[in-house]
Amino acid sequence: MKKNLLRIILTVIFIAAAIMYLLPTYQDYQIGKQLAGLTGQDSLDFVTKNADKIKKSRDGRIKLGLDLKGGMYVVLDVDVVKLLQDLTKKKDDATLNQILDDLRNVPETSDIPLMEILKQKLKEKGLNLKSFYGEVRDSEADVEAKLNKEVDNAIDRAVEIVRNRIDQYGVAEPQIQKIGGKRIIVELPGINNPGEVRKLLQGTALLQFQLLKDPESAVKVMQSINSILVGKQITDSTGTKSNKLDSLKSKDLVTSKDSTKKELAGKNDIKKDTTKTKKDIAKKETNKKDSTKTNKKDSTKKTDTSKLAGDTSNLKDTSQANLSEEEFKLKFPFFYLVRLNEQSGTADGYVREQDKEKVDLILKREDVKSIIPSDVMFAWSQRSFETGGEKIFTLYCLKKDAELTGKVIEDARSNIDPQSNTPIVSMSMSSEGSADWARITGANINKRCAIVLDNVVYSAPVIRSKISGGNSQIEGMGSVQEAKLLEIVLKAGALPAPLKIAEERSIGPSLGEDSIKKGLTSSLVALLLVALFMIVYYRTGGSIADLALIINVLFVVGIMASFKATLTLPGIAGLVLTLGMAVDTNVLIFERIREEMGSGKPFRTSVDIGYKKAFSAIIDAHVTSIITGIILYQFGTGPIQGFALTLLFGLAANLFTAIVITHFIFDMLIEKGKHVSIG
């Protein structure tokens, strides 16, 4: 009985866990059904109201593979020849270009690395890598190592660029994976536009240095957007306004700031983040100098805010007390979504992750677009920070015209500053760029300059001093990873990451629907037939086996949900086959029991001996299948791995159900004195 108790507990725990993991999938299905019944405004309201629930169930549900859902699967390879073309100092050298053209024609299936072929070809002509890719003091081996490293770096750049773009393109649940250090696999569920995706993945990345709008005018732009949202039309967004309106607006702003503080309870976090974003571009400054600079900045900030708050500061407290969250939302819809922080002295807007899309929609509205001055643009931060368990993104208001593009960057390197022991990124510019950079930094000291890749802000440091000579240093990164990312981004601006599409698969949504329908129905039909046969052939024993089958399915799907695995069509096939194995295990046991009974043993003894004797065969059979499953997972890709995964999960679940659950049900029934027929 003690043994049975342990079995019961194990079974109950496993079943409960499986159900728990499957709950989000069920909820997601329910939500989908509810949503399908709603239209227009109703569905929008539903989504807003249940945002948390929807997100939670979506995160936890079983994901469907591209073959079931439709979408695109793209494998990207670094175009080494293109990279070699970009990297050389002598772009116009006829001999080199001839050799690179020849390299293009080397069949892709060749086993010799392109670099070796290049070296060979250069040697034939009495040349070497150094003359095209190296500096005077480099050795040939150094140059080769450097080039190989560039190839590696290219893939990191590409991953960042691709991720950035796909995020902007707005694909739900994209998957971007770096495989084997030289390849990127991109999976875009639900996307069926190969042409556009190709452009998206292969286009050259654009890195720009853009100054931030000064906080005062940035806030003004946001105020006018807010006014449009509440329905107040402003004829001139920057010019004169009626006093009444003006004071109201100042009041709005103050309120919004205060409530930001209230809303984002962790004031420190924001502060921390602001200091984080205040990355210093400077050529090694002394701490003292730095601090004076900061002070100076703080004072400007003060004047800024006081100016903004204006003479309505008296109203501040009352208005704040009077406005509830709901009223605030009603009156200042834009600032409800985009929170400003008075303390920071910036016009950085903080937006919760789930509001990002709404803000994007607002910014895309025609009436809103028409009042945003033509020299202004909004851009999101790449990074988010967390406050109170919520992800917060920053919305920056930038000057539209770029001061400089990333093409002037010659190199970027992340490092640890030996003096302050904090991560820094140093970047060097070409002589041409350096001159511009000196002019720009000189004219904009204490202003912020954003580093923008494909319209996403990676960093917005403050310019501390005029930088002549082209060597700049960016400080204030929170971590080494952050510095590394900035290095990658700066390099992406310097060098495009040449990519070619090595594999591309797109599955139309209707085919996906077709296959899921057929795959599921046929699996169900097969399962029912087998279950029916088991009952007919093995009577009560068969019913117990069928119950085990159902629990088995529950386990496999539950394990898949807990591992966040993707269900593919081969995955369904794998599931059906494990069920085949499960049936086999039960058949094996039942036949054994029948044999023992045939030799005249009582039922109870026969059951025990049957299970015992079948055990070795079951283990050996499962282990060999597990071996194949693991190897399949190791060498397969995409859908095949899905197959291997369900197979492995299924085999594990099967060992448990067949050996523990069915045996224990038999024991229980026998103990209760029931006759258990196995046909």
Partner: protein, 313 residues
């Protein structure tokens, strides 16, 4: 209900005849393979493939004409079971404006009045194709190796060899069957792609499962009937497990048959391959794997005259 009761069939006595049957099958298959080549999908050789559905039935010849005009002379065009579903395939896979785009414009320009939608496009570069091919071979070889080692540890080396030879037999026969059926029924779209690889590994798994269960019984019976000849012990073991063998293989075959008929075209090739695998897997457990063990043991016994079993179990 019982389908088999105490059978006593001399399976292994007939093994020489079945060796002949297996060899004939394999030779026929190899000849077909040699004449036709292994039908490789684009997964393993690179190329572009597009599945289109027209809103009205269309003749293959019309489609072929359109493709010829679009610069894809001699393109492979297969009907997918209905007169409005087609699969277009070419070994080409260009950069930039891709082959898939060209095919689409080719249809649009040359076939008037028929709308179509692209159900699926696949483009595989030759490098990836080669890698997938190598990985497929690795997958098969390593799983056979893994099985060989595991069985050698759990049974004896000769049993492991018997099982692996049986698996080779199954793989060869199934490849042959795929080649033959592909020649006769091209609409089944039997060709070697990644799904087919999954089917082969599954059939290896199934076949070895079947073999292991018979071997397990032999291992047990050898201890029980120490004085009997290995051939008799094996026959006994095959007979006592026959009921389980037939029921399991039968139910799995039934499952796969349902997948084959109702599973849609994506599962069809998989189901076909595995169905063949279930049959040869069941057959080879007795007539290849077990038979080899018997012959091997007899040989050792002949050599050592009189000393009976070498079983370590």
């Amino acid at each position: 209900m019982r389908l088999f009761k105490h059978t006593d069939i001399d399976f292994l006595g007939k093994r020489k005849k079945f060796y002949a049957v297996s060899i004939v099958f394999i030779i026929v298959g190899l000849v077909v393979l040699f004449l036709k080549g292994i039908p490789l999908g684009i997964d393993f050789q690179g190329g572009t493939e597009m599945q289109v559905r027209f809103n009205a039935p269309i003749e293959v010849s019309e489609l072929r004409g359109a493709m010829d005009k679009a610069g894809f002379a001699g393109m492979e065009i297969k009907s997918m079971g209905s007169a409005s579903d087609y699969l277009l395939r070419t070994p080409l896979q260009g950069e930039g404006q891709t082959v898939a785009d060209k095919i689409q414009t080719g249809i649009k320009e040359n076939i008037a009045g028929k709308d179509f939608q692209v159900m699926r496009t696949d483009k595989v570069g030759p490098k990836i194709g080669k890698e997938l091919r190598t990985n497929a071979i690795y997958a098969i070889v390593f799983s056979l190796l893994g099985i060989l080692i595991y069985l050698a540890l759990r049974f004896q080396f000769v049993y492991a060899v018997g099982a692996v030879v049986g698996l080779f037999h199954d793989v060869l026969i199934t490849i042959s069957a795929v080649a033959i059926f592909d020649a006769i029924f091209p609409q089944l779209q039997l060709e070697f792609n990644q799904q087919m690889l999954a089917a082969f590994l599954t059939l290896i798994g199934f076949s070895v499962n079947d073999t292991v269960i018979i071997f397990d019984r032999i291992r047990e019976n050898i201890k029980l009937f120490k004085n009997e000849d290995i051939e008799q012990v094996m026959n006994k073991s095959v007979n006592t497990t026959l009921s389980r063998t037939i029921i399991t293989s039968g139910t799995v075959f039934l499952t796969v048959l349902v997948l084959f008929i109702f599973g849609g075209e994506v599962l069809r090739a998989f189901a076909f391959t595995f169905a063949v695998g279930v049959i040869t897997g069941t057959y080879s457990s007795v007539f290849v794997s077990s038979s080899i063990v018997v012959d091997w043991k007899h040989r050792i016994i002949d050599k050592n005259k009189g000393r009976v079993s070498l079983s370590k179990n």
